[in-house]
Symmetry: C2
Subunit: 469 residues, 2 copies
């Protein structure tokens, strides 16, 4: 499983550096009939959007969302808060008149933060804030006191004499380039430093901007490597260590870290609005309901989960049944490594040919811009034509893997899209105490929800399937 997770992390990394492609107009030769059919959805999409934006349904959804976030707070995979949150969403679905809701059990890892602290002892005493990375092992009870060495890159690590690493705490301070490019120091740093004899690693938080902010996230130990404790530190402290090292100072740190690892049962939540013509065919809309244990998981991925949950619910309320089934999935345990999505795919492997299109929102629900699409040219041409219904929310980006949970499906050749939105500051808050309802804006979330529902409806109702490769 680890190898798959690592592969996925790598794929996500690549995805993040793909440039926004222009609209594939030139390559498109859509049948006129299809174009006419798509454009005939103008009225119904307008109706859906109006009901949500101006008809009170969006406001209600936002209130439910805000209350959900403030009631359950952080929803770490394995925690009771997450399971209560799942129960709540199941009930909320029924309360909204949609009874086709089920959960499917998933065996997941439960990595629990117990205690963390760190101090610099030399050149002087200073408290260092740390935030352990998912799956980190604990330090011995008496902590680890060791000299630190600041390393900028894996390349530099490779070139550094093993004697200089052995017994040290390696501080990785890569400059933030992009999430995809820089996150490898979080996800793989401990293993790489351990192979050279390091006793722990601290990683400069993966964010472009910091107000002494700590950002956690997943990391994985490679096979046959001594597992060493690993935590995020702030830009401020990483850069202080770098400057002290440049001044020739000896840096001595002492860290205490304590975590518990066990396994728990969690659940994926599946909400169906059954199709009126081809109920066996599915358009999946999704987000993950779990979060890290800091902040409230409002942005990652409360917003994406909520607008996806809302799609079958609001279409059902509006009595708009598309041809195909719209299935909302609230993934569990995305953060520890797409565990819920993987379990779902394993269980539903025989249905993959029936998945017409998969959608995921997991990169923010700020002002919506359009979609990030994976699929054949034909698929993209249809998506682009549908997007014309939503001007100005009509930007289209092309990515090989435009999402996280979705990646597993796209790898099987299923076309899909994730929500493009004005998320320039996404990583300022990501996996930190700053991921709370404060970063959300009601108007933007409602606009995302309206677009998400109306777009899904059209795709699920079109006479033609979205073609595969």
């Amino acid at each position: 499983m680890y190898s798959i997770v690592l592969q996925i992390l790598f794929l996500i990394s690549i995805n993040c550096t793909v440039i926004i492609n222009s609209y594939p107009e030139n390559e498109c030769n859509l049948d006129n009939k299809l174009v006419d059919e798509i454009q005939s959805y103008k009225n119904v999409t307008k109706q859906i959007i109006d009901k949500i934006v101006s008809g009170g349904f969006g406001t209600k959804m936002y209130e439910d969302y805000s209350k959900f976030i403030d009631t359950f707070g952080a929803r770490l995979a394995g925690s009771k808060a997450l399971e209560k949150a799942i129960d709540h969403m199941v009930n909320l679905t029924r309360q909204n008149g949609l009874n086709d809701v089920t959960t499917e059990e998933v065996d997941i890892p439960y990595w629990q933060r117990i205690y963390e602290s760190a101090n610099m002892f030399e050149p002087y005493l200073k408290k260092i804030s740390i935030l352990g990375l998912g799956t980190s092992v604990s330090t011995p009870a008496e902590g680890i006191k060791a000299e630190a060495i600041v390393i900028k890159s894996f390349d530099e690590l490779e070139k550094t004499d093993e004697n200089k690493i052995k017994g040290k705490i390696v501080v990785f301070d890569p400059p933030f380039v992009s999430y995809g490019e820089t996150v490898v120091y979080r996800s793989l740093g401990a293993s790489k430093a351990s192979r050279k004899g390091a006793v722990a690693t601290l990683v400069r938080s993966i964010t472009p901007f910091s107000i002494y902010s700590l950002h956690t996230g997943a990391q994985d130990y490679e096979n046959n490597v001594t597992k060493i404790p690993t935590a995020a530190i702030t830009h401020e402290d990483a850069d202080l260590f770098r400057r002290l090292q440049n001044l020739g100072e000896k840096i001595v740190l002492k860290i205490h870290m304590s975590y518990a690892m066990s396994r728990k049962i969690s659940r994926n939540t599946i909400i169906d609005l059954k199709g009126k013509e081809s109920p066996e065919k599915q358009v999946i809309v999704s987000g993950h309901i779990d979060s890290w244990d800091v902040g409230q998981g409002a942005m990652d991925d409360g917003g994406g989960m909520m607008i996806s949950w809302f799609v079958p619910v609001i279409l059902n309320i509006l009595k708009l049944k598309p041809r195909r089934t719209i299935r909302a999935i609230l993934w569990t345990a995305e953060e520890p490594g797409l565990i819920g999505a993987e379990a779902y795919l394993t269980k539903h492997i025989n249905e993959t040919s029936n998945i017409n299109f998969i959608m995921e929102s997991d990169e923010g629900t700020f002002k919506p811009l359009g979609l990030d699409v994976a699929g054949s040219t034909n698929a993209r041409c249809i998506i682009a034509e549908v997007l014309k219904l939503f001007t100005p929310i009509d930007k289209m980006k092309e990515s090989e893997y435009p999402g996280s949970d979705m990646t597993l499906f796209v790898q099987k050749g299923i076309p899909g899209a994730s929500l493009l939105n004005e998320n320039e500051r996404y990583f300022w808050f990501h996996h930190s105490e700053g991921d709370t309802m404060n970063v959300q804006n009601q108007e933007d979330v409602v606009a995302c929800a309206a677009f998400w529902a109306a777009f899904s409806y059209v795709i699920a109702d079109l006479s033609q399937d979205i073609p595969r490769q």
Copy 2:
């Protein structure tokens, strides 16, 4: 003393809302000879700036600054770190060849943070990060457990029935309008809530932007008021409490806060470059060397202190002795309420008529823009004419009280100016763990230093004094 401090806080508040005035060209009738004289400084100002920006002196100053900040870290009034930092600056002055450096003792309060923690107990358990405000009293050892009430304004507090406040923890959540307007909830909130029977106050951090950031700062208990513990909380938690209160939830908090209060001796540092013609006349350039106990005090006010210290030092190195004495003052204990500046003024009260002009940099050393000036129209006309030498660093703002320590001098009719700079994000970092070298940019700090030194030189050397009212 408290009343003076409060008055000053109020004055600073007003200052912050003054609009940038246009350049007083219309009102100015400067003597042609004076205009010619001012413009004759073009070469020497260019020379000073070139030496600092391109001649290596600015780079060296920045390295000294960075090393100073990283060596001493936070320099709380009363702490050993501050006294060591003062010793260091005295030695650094001498090492740079300027021996006219003295310190003057000041009796200051030493408010020391020992321990702080807070939790929300109802409606569910959640850790709440808090940061006590300067001079806050401690809670009893067993802490304070009480229901919270969220109050938006003093007006709302006034109108709220005393029974609803009594025994409660008042959470002030004023929206950030401007520092001056909003800071009153930090500085006066505890006293006002205490008068209505509150047992503690928590104040939404005074900042326009937060990533779960805590911002401390001074507060004062009014006379005859029961002193209750008071701390800053994040926007995120304040807004969570507000939303929970709106949902009708009962909020119960438990806080533990422990501080020690004593008195210490600290020192103002005075560095003179004696004037060659009228050494008794002074142009003061200043910044404060103390900081709060979070972050590194790099921005507030390490940068301002350093560029002010640098003025006599670099002019001495460049063998540029102006007519009047340039006195750099590194104020101590600004943060607890302008204690160092007040002591200086009391001690030097007979010299005030000799202070030709006072300058202060305490609002950031980001990209320099010009000056914020207090003084008569005549004074401002001269300053404006001098600023023409520094285009594009020639913006002029007019304020009644353009600074903090400087306020005491301006109140005595002494004209002065503080550094205008691109400090739009100043309050994002102010009095928080985020105030570190990370927010500084070498090029900008060097540009500030060059402007600061060259401008001071011209003012100190002009044949004419800066006129008072």
